[in-house]
Amino acid sequence: MFIDYSLYILFLPLLAFVIQIFFGKKLPRQGDWVSILAIVSSLVLAVIMFASMISGYDPNFKQEASFTWIDMGEFKIRLGFLVDNLTIIMLLVVTLISTCTHLFSTEYLKGDIRYSRYFAYLGLFTFSMNGIVLANNLISMYMFWELVGVSSYLLIGHWFEKKSAADASKKAFLTNRVGDIGFFIGIMLIYNAIGSFAFGDIFNGVASEMITGTTLTLAGVGLFMGAMGKSSQFPLHIWLPDAMEGPTPVSALMHAATMVAAGVYLAVRIFPILTPDALLVVAYVGGFTALFAASIAITQRDIKKVLAYSTVSQLGYMILAVGTGVYTAAFFHLLTHAMFKANLFYGSGSVIHSMHHALHEKHDHDTDPQDMMNMGGFRKKMPITHWSMFLSTLAIAGVPFFSGFLSKDAILAGTLSFAQHHPQHFLLPVFGFGAALITAFYMFRMMFLTFYGKSQMPELIDDIHESPKIMTGPLVLLGGLSFFIWYTLPYFNFMSSHGWFTDLVVPKDSSVPGNPSADYISKGAHHAHHLAMYLSIAVAFIGIFLSWTFYIKKSLSAEAWSKRLRLLYRWSQNKYYFDENYNKYLYQPTLRLAKKVAWVDWELYDKYFINGFGRLTNLASRVAGKFDYDGIDQVLVDGTAKIANFLGSLLKTVQTGKLQNYVLYVTCGLIILMIIQTF
């Protein structure tokens, strides 16, 4: 049943995509109902799968189905599908968020010129994301990985008339490619050593030491590079904020909940083969990204940019958790983050939507509807949006009794315990807690600027309205899911003996010999749990308090502080000049190098070496030709030909040019042969 259902979940969106892309425009309502029907069916199936997983819980549940894709004798590639607890939860998340996005988009993109195409691409994306989730081997995962890249490219560039959108989609695509090269190298390293792409075979192979040491580390880091690209980790983080050029529901679906989570998912999947060195790389990259992105988010004015950097930061958290070994916590955070971050994006979409309408009423086309400095005081006007966003903000800030608190706490506990065991890596918890502090601060900054205080553009406030029901529906749903209670549901499930949601995924031991066992890690984390909890609560409340003083009470002036920390402020505001630096130190030198190389190739190599060689050859051939003609040709060849000519003129009489005669000769010959043979 699981395999069947998951196949349906996989292919229904693809079907919707096919229908939409070919017939979408012809269908009533541009066919959005086709996509919605498909995705809702998928959601229902996913819920059924999830329910049956809970009711008959088996920590080691696993089903696999595979078939041979390429069979060339020794070389075989088998593709297949893997369903386990992780997959089922992931499918639920993907289909849930995707459903919300579909519903939200019907209103948000109403009247768009490529409405049906948009839904088609959503279907394609959902298909490929589900494919990543369901893949049981690296190669099909890679295939779906690329498909996700393509559909992300298409969706970010949905409004490709805008140059910024087109550029952003290209940037996202190319940046991802960088990571994917690493990914592919990793895959090939592993295949070279083990001879299979399937996860099961790889884990067994690593456990039996078919691949060890530096190679394994390199392979792990390579695979992790893919995750870095997709989850926009530190050096490759530049694409995600730009990707906010796409429609907001797309940001919610892909750049908050699913696509960027694919990297984390990959990291979680490959965790058992990561060596300690690789894990350290992972942890540092994640931790640094968490703090670094959070520090950018403080100063952003664009509401979506804030959320984008927040996402990068949160993803850094998850990666950090993987790196420190508590990968179930990473997965848990992935889950909760998907819910509240998607909700935040929907909320921001709702705000932008109404801002947009309000500006439209005023015929004001210059003001940026996404700028928080133009908002303020929307609380009364958009109560549903406000409350749901508020709940999610509490969750992301890590306030107790909200989902984010649980997952964040688990991660911080893991980090803390790691640092306790390895004191030289004390920076990791610092990254973690620092990021938590800043997160609470900037998230509430965003809330306060948007919904509280006085309106900063008072002429607009009368035209701000609550969004229609189809948009607030997902908001309410996901806002409700920010409460911690849902993630403890299994605890109240009389059929299950398991407590927290996070326990649904039982950590497994790493396959790499010598890595600490899962039991060891979880014990450590448990040990550090209480300390981490208190610290994180404290940090969260400090952040909130700071934000309150800055933006509500205004006892501290934001302007004054920004002047005081001018350098930092400017760095943060300009994203640490990353794009500029990349441009200056990476792109331009590369281009210059390419030009140099081209010059060398054309001017030097081609002109002198190749042509000179040609001249030399010419000379030699003239000499040879003389010898050839006078010596060989005249005497040897012509002599032979003369003889042949003579013989030919003899045989010419037989050559009548008539087919029938030839056949006659052949048959005669045959008869003679037969007579000789027979008698």
């Binding site: 008539k658 029938q660 005669n661 006659l664 048959t667 005669c668 045959l670 008869i671 037969m674 007579i675 027979t678």
Partner: protein, 164 residues
């Protein structure tokens, strides 16, 4: 003589008579039609040889394909308005003698050779066996023949294109 035997000899006679009609008739179209009957007879012989799949292939490829092609060819290369499409022969006398000799010799060989005959029973299923063989033992020839067909296709298309 059992009925089947009579039918066999009838089919054989039918085949050979049609074939000689093909060879001896001077009107091309009649030859083509006679060829059709001859091929039909050969298909009948295949059925006697328990090769029903080959018989079906013979029907489709030879009768539905090659014979129609030949008829088309005849019509394309003659003035349509003239019904009688006669043609001429060369070296008929010599040819007849040699062909007769050939036949006699081959018959002699056949009659003199002690052929090994293995008793076997009619297979219940031929198609699946042929299919399996084609994709296992004879995979390479199968691929080669597909390439050849492709080449022939392209070649025929190229040749019959108008030279513009």
């Amino acid at each position: 003589m059992p009925v089947a035997e009579i039918v066999f000899w009838l089919v054989a006679a039918f085949t050979i008579i049609s074939a000689s009609f093909v060879v001896l008739n001077n009107q091309l179209l009649y030859s083509a039609i006679a060829l059709l009957f001859s091929l039909f007879g050969v298909a009948g012989l295949y059925i006697f040889l328990w090769a029903d799949f080959i018989a079906g292939i013979q029907l489709i490829v030879y009768i539905g394909g090659i014979n129609v092609l030949i008829i088309f060819g005849i019509m394309l290369t003659n003035k349509i308005s003239s019904v009688r499409l006669s043609q001429t022969n060369v070296q008929q006398g010599v040819g007849a003698v040699i062909a007769l000799w050939l036949m006699i010799l081959i018959s002699l060989v056949i009659s003199k050779t002690p052929w090994l005959q293995i008793e076997s029973s009619e297979p219940s299923e031929t198609v699946s066996v042929i299919g399996t063989l084609l994709l296992s033992k004879y995979l390479l020839p199968f691929e080669a023949i597909s390439l050849l067909l492709l080449g022939a296709l392209i070649g025929a298309a190229l040749l019959s294109r108008e030279a513009t």
